[in-house]
Symmetry: C2
Subunit: 624 residues, 2 copies
């Protein structure tokens, strides 16, 4: 199926693309004059503008169109927050070290590369080949013991030195630091922006006047201390992500706008398909939700919107699929997860995660802080509920525990009915109950608390919202878009260029005078004014190169439209110019006062180039 | 002078403003449910939108209008880069510790607060008062010994416990971390974005086709591990900054666009004025540069543009001044520096630095990397220059130093004429020269190198550009703007509201139906469509509160325009609505199809409210 999906443009040469991106400063390795740092990249003017345009579209497509609440939280995150979220204990990769020089390798990458090397060797026997294929298929689910077994069995060594390797060691991927001067306030750089939203849940719910569902979004940096990153923008240590946390009633994950996208077709690679060795299938998202392939409407809605966004910014739809996580890939609390994967020269790359994380995160932060992170749902009709409460004897409590008594009182009030029933049983049998208040524990005797039971009419129900989390890696999407924009001319010189979508192109048009003659200046000025009026970015290339060479230079950096000023421009009032469509190299001729609106419409996608060709006369250039 | 400048609106209550900003979630302390972290703030939907709008204006005002090259570099920065820039050795504050509990205080802040407390005490004698005033005046230039002397002489103690304090200790303000798994690659979070631009200088110069002057700009995070931050958004540990590095010929710092702004008047508080105890003066920037009060045209140009930007986003011009650094405040290499200071309830706050840093930064990175960071200037006519070169005997060098010989060759080629002359003298006298190559040193004998002297016709001159650096702290500017937007109604209820400039207001208009009656829905929909057409953000408040209460609620968050739908709206075709100007509470009535353009023009500053009042009939509301 991958071959079937692979497009015509596949005459792709990664080295040529990388050379172009570096030479024209889309991005390049950070601190290169200091020898560079792997996994860190700086964006130059072209990359910066492309990224800014993609983020602008993301904000429009999600935050504005869906009315999300945007937040902007800090990268610095105290340890207890990431302890609660599970990152301190579990956000790690297995690494193996060269036993002699200490060089580190990510264990799964080392196994994958070593296996692939084996498979490429002619002398490898059929039996070993089968074994290799089997390891590759199961590698995603391997733990440290599995990996150690494989490394030992195949006798894998360091690919650099040939030295022996250690057993896999867990390496936490968060960058550690400390806040403040004492050195004892441990913190990390956030590995994702999501936790910033969760810890602000109460404020956001209040901002939304207490109503569910609602979504919050954040655009910001994430940091991951990758063990040995080697795949350009695909695996980096500092990156921009866009995350949405959509809070929803766990008993009703329907979506009001689902009908709008129900007919939209997505290529789904379900867990079943993967386990059966079947291919990905194109399915309408409405059908996928109806058949429970995708867990619920809200998740399905975000997958469809994700598909729309990726296509809009220039991902080739034939190289896009949604792959469901297998049960062993997913966290125990997750209900369902579909990665948007994009096919690049590095293979299928996870660029967006769409996960139903249930109520795990809010509950974890509640457990860590004792601050209730819940919403209220109005019941269809009031119900009588049995209340069990532990009422403190404040006088006695004060006597026993002095200033701690207030905190004990608060902790008692926050106990669930089950907790109070357990406390009652314990006090009855053991005459003693150990109450945990934060890290401390206090002994309570039957005299300290009275158990009160009664019925109450209740109009609302408290619930911990479920969270649907779409999480976008902007650098990866950007790299995929650049690969998918790569084109080679079928002309003799076979020169390459970038067909970046006008919507996100770093520069919307070039202005090219056919000659350096001063008489053309008034036309140039008229065009600049016209473009500024429509807020269109442009690049003037009035260098002495031939017009063909200048077209090539602007095509190379993905400028979609070229405005050429020639001596005919002066002959009419208003002036006329030609507009050239870089991708097809075709040109039309029109009046300067029409140029701004035309290019703006083309960039916004309100018009296609064929529409422009229908509207304005063609112009034949002799120079290409 | 400060009193003379203080505006009428000074009925300012910081507690009320802070309450509003917290309640309506402009921003609030990060990780509050975990007890909070001082110096870290999260922006909610209102703060996020305000910040995004301010950054958008900054990008337009500087990057687009001035054609700057934007870059986006990493926060993670290897130690050698910050060693070269001087931050590892010198980016520190002096702190004193409580000798008993170890609590840390920034020494200068402790002295300032203790002195101010003394001055507030009635019993303090005239002599001590004089002494106090003298310390305050000189505090900015104090080193550790000076501060220790003051603390000892006045017998200052910890303001919390009254315990003794240690001598001042230097505390480096950068957050340390490590890159990669080995733990031996030390790095810091960048304390400013500037270094990312300097290390990319070669690529940027190339992008600009080798031509000077040009400016690069970066919008991004900076991190400073403040000792004990306590002033809200004024002093934070993680913040957004916008920095420009303008590279210019050190012998010609004139500015092509200077004439555009030469007549612009700025309030300048020169070093002379400060030393003389004179007041700040309003001066045309052209005059200030002509009289050498401001060092050069380029610096003056950026100061004028800075003034324009700050006013544009809502800084009160009466509370803005440019204060020149005293010589003891400036780094030894800096030529001149003017801080844009804004008067807030915390006093005059430095919000923008405008510095001429000469060629220090590029030279430092050259020294550390041996990579030339220079531009070429075409000479008016070719000149003959004496060349002195150290030519290596590669055969002998290879024999002596094997694989190092290439690096030695490269190092020899990079020696300046002066270095070669020194080398020649040394070889002649001592028969030995120690050549430094990075951290290593190699012994060269007269056999290893031959000194070659000749004349060469030279058409270009190499130069290390000077750097003019405007550096904007966006959080501080935003806080100042919020303070300056604070207003109190002169009505009975004296309610407060924010008169944020429409250009940067988080939400541009509110839509308020006078009643929940369904018949008004078509008007509401027509308005929403009209606003979407002009890309104007809005907030619908259809809650049941009285219209007056709803106006108050939208005024409070700085929504500049309110669109009210009443039953008269339906009586005409097209529908009509009223538009209310929050600041003056006056209203006009107009057709719905005119609303979008009017509000867009008002927000962009193309129209003032008085223009709108002249154009459309007034509407008298009975509800306020």
């Amino acid at each position: 199926t991958e071959i079937a999906l692979a497009p015509k443009e596949a005459s792709f040469d990664r080295l040529k693309l990388e050379d172009l991106l570096k030479r024209r400063f889309f991005y390049d390795q950070s601190f290169a004059i200091y020898g560079g740092v792997t996994g860190l990249y700086d964006f130059g003017p072209m990359g910066c503008a492309l990224k800014a345009n993609m983020l602008h579209q993301w904000r429009k497509h999600f935050i504005l169109e869906e009315g999300m609440l945007e937040v902007d939280c800090t990268s610095l995150t105290p340890e207890p927050v990431l302890k609660a979220s599970g990152h301190v204990d579990r956000f790690a990769d297995w690494m193996v070290k060269d036993t002699k020089n200490g060089e580190c390798f990510r264990a799964d990458h080392l196994i994958k590369n070593s296996i692939e090397k084996l498979l490429n060797e002619k002398k490898t026997s059929a039996a070993v080949r089968n074994d290799c294929e089997d390891v590759l298929a199961r590698l995603e689910g391997f733990d440290d013991k599995d990996m150690h077994e494989v490394i030992t069995r195949f006798n894998f060594k360091s690919p650099i030195t040939g030295n022996d390797l250690t057993e896999p060691i867990a390496f936490n991927l968060m960058f550690p630091t400390q806040i403040g001067p004492t050195g004892d306030f441990k913190a990390f750089l956030r590995p994702e922006t999501a936790q910033g939203i969760f810890v602000n849940f109460k404020r956001l719910l209040e901002f939304n006047q207490g109503k569910l569902p609602f979504a919050a979004a954040q655009i910001g940096l994430g940091f991951r201390n990758e063990i040995s990153p080697r795949q350009g923008l695909i695996r980096v240590r500092e990156f921009t992500m866009c995350e949405i946390e959509h809070f929803v009633d766990p008993d009703d994950k329907s979506c009001a706008k689902f009908a709008d996208i129900a007919d939209q077709k997505l290529v789904l690679f379900s867990a079943c398909n993967q386990l059966d060795g079947a291919a990905a299938r194109e399915v309408a998202i409405g059908e996928a939700v109806a058949k429970k392939t995708v867990a619920n409407e809200t998740l399905g809605y975000y997958m469809a919107r994700c598909h729309q966004f990726l296509i809009k910014v220039g991902v080739d739809p034939r190289r896009l699929r949604f792959r469901q996580h297998l049960s062993n890939e997913m966290a125990h609390y997750a209900q369902d997860c579909w990665d948007a994967e994009i096919l690049t020269s590095y293979g299928w790359i996870e660029c967006v995660g769409n996960a139903d994380r249930a109520c795990y995160d809010l509950q974890q932060h509640f457990k860590a802080t004792n601050v209730k992170l819940v919403a209220e749902k109005k019941l269809p009709q009031p119900v009588d509920v049995d209340i069990v409460e532990a009422q403190p004897n404040m006088a006695l409590l004060g006597k026993s525990y002095k200033k701690d008594s207030r905190r004990i009182q608060a902790a008692l009030q926050q106990l669930s009915s089950e907790d109070v029933t357990a406390l009652e049983a314990e006090l009855l049998s053991a005459k003693l109950y150990k109450l945990n208040v934060g890290p401390e524990s206090f002994d309570l005797t039957p005299d300290h608390v009275k158990i009160k039971k009664y019925q109450k009419k209740v109009h609302v129900q408290e619930l911990t919202p479920s969270v649907i989390e779409p999480s976008y890696g902007i650098g990866r999407i950007m790299y995929a878009v650049l690969e998918h924009s790569y084109r080679q001319r079928e002309t003799e010189d076979q020169r390459i260029f970038l067909a970046i979508k006008p919507l996100v192109a770093p520069i919307k048009c070039s202005i090219l005078p056919i000659s350096a003659n001063d008489t053309l200046v008034p036309v140039m000025e008229a065009i600049k004014k016209e473009l500024a009026l429509h807020e269109l970015s442009y690049k003037v290339d009035d260098s002495s190169g031939s017009i063909g060479r200048r077209y090539a230079r602007t095509d190379e950096i993905g400028i979609p439209f070229g405005i050429t000023v020639d001596f005919d421009s002066l002959k009419t009032s208003p002036f006329t110019v030609t507009v050239r469509h870089a991708e097809t190299m075709t040109q039309i001729r029109l009046d300067v006062p029409e140029v701004g609106r035309l290019v703006a419409d083309l960039c916004a996608g309100r018009l296609q180039w064929s529409d422009a060709q229908a509207k304005f006369p063609a112009f034949e250039s002799k120079s290409e």
